[in-house]
Amino acid sequence: MMKRSTEDGSRIEQALHVADEYEREPVPAKALKGPAKFWGMYAGEHTAGTEFMIGPMFLAGGVGVFDLFAGLLLGNLLAVLSWRFVCAPVATSTRLTLYAQLERIAGRRVVLLYNLANGILFCFLAGAMITVSATAVVPALQGVGIPLEVRQPSLQDLMPTGLSWVVIVLLVGAVIAVVAARGYDSVARVANMAAPWMILIFIACALVTLPKLDAQSAAEIWKGGEPQAGSVKLTFWHVLIFAWCCNAAMHLGMSDMSVLRYARKASYGWASAAGMYLGHFVAWICASILFALEIQRNPDSPANAPGPMVDNAVGFAGLVCVIVAGWTTANPTIYRAGLAFQGMFPRSSRTWMTLLAGGVATVAGIFPAVPMRLLDFVGIYGTILAPVGAIVFLNHWAGGRWGLVRDYAATKGIAVNPAVLAAWLLPVGFCVVDFVWTQRVWSPFLAAPAWLAAGLLYLTGSKLLPRNSMP
């Protein structure tokens, strides 16, 4: 049964014409969508402003040409397979959001904790995308004659670069947050419209930049060797694992149940290939080429702010692309964060929770720390969230077998499933300790082992639960 929104939320929802999103019930057959929508949505969502950040970071990490191309090809394939065979079957079978399904397995109080972590991490990720858009807004406004003096953030900046930067980010974030509150249909529509054009802008940037490089082959662009100061040395395995696990929260972690629950068939999970090979392959490589020119021009202190790089390449059209790319990905990310916060407070309005998420993301966007350490942040973000997907996966396929009860918390009427709590927090705690204190393992490498560990711990822990028998 759908929870009723507060009166205030209802007025805002009416003003914004927000659609019914089936937050806490299975998506009915009448709301299912055809495959084309998912191909366009995935292409748009993963051809984002952050691709302008990640591509250069491979180059800064001293990756060689074979390691880059082979790692991206195989890593993205693993990601697609994860969406198709891990997330999509569960999503199309249950027709529920991750939060609704997890509550049935783990109990409401465990979901509260997950929703808090999920919402905050999504907000920081969206904040990084707001930052990216803001780097393009500055030269765009300067280009139309508005005299702005803003120091763009660079790889070494973790704090805001000035008051004018803060104001720009606040304005960009406010617009993005309000639009995100309209609901999934509207943001997906814009992403669908922009996707074909965006990928061509990425390609255009590379085509324009290549003649300006002092390189006769790809090996002279991605030379390998020592990384730039402050960057981790990246190898084939770094590239492969990052390409696979950068979206671990969505595929292994089942967050994209919120999206794929609208799919008529599980095979629509293949649509993720549009995002992986257009966004996480073509766009990353094109962005890397942009940064190669920046390194050539300023070898001692290359700046990786996407706005100025793209402006130098293709001008105002490129700035529009950076703004739109950041926006069309920030929106669904803020939307997911809003869903997560609403999961914590079921009687709350999704609109208000989405606006809250947008506000947190905007504040996070003021600090360049996350976008400038994006590879590390994405790694730990997937590591923290992905393990619950193993639990959902096993509940779906093993529930009712091997003596396990499907949807244990709902069946037993409990608020906390201790097996879920332990299975999630133990591997995550271990990984967070490594990330914060010892840093012996590059954070993207932690996601898949944490997922596996959570699955094994859940199987083991569930068998130890009292009265864990078939109903």
Binding site: S186, M193, P196, W197, I203, V208, V314, G315, A317, G318
Partner: protein, 60 residues
Amino acid sequence: MKVKHAAITVSGLALTCLTLLPPLLFAVGRIPQSTLEFLMLLGTVLWFASVPWWMRKEAP
């Protein structure tokens, strides 16, 4: 229907002739940077002006 067909034509031209072709021409030295930037901006405007007329309004 005629409007939709016209919009599709404009969108196609915007993508091919005004977004992908100018960088190729720039890369081989046929057009200067200023012309490249103008054509690509024109393509951007035409794309977003035309695509809503033919892209279906439903979304996932």
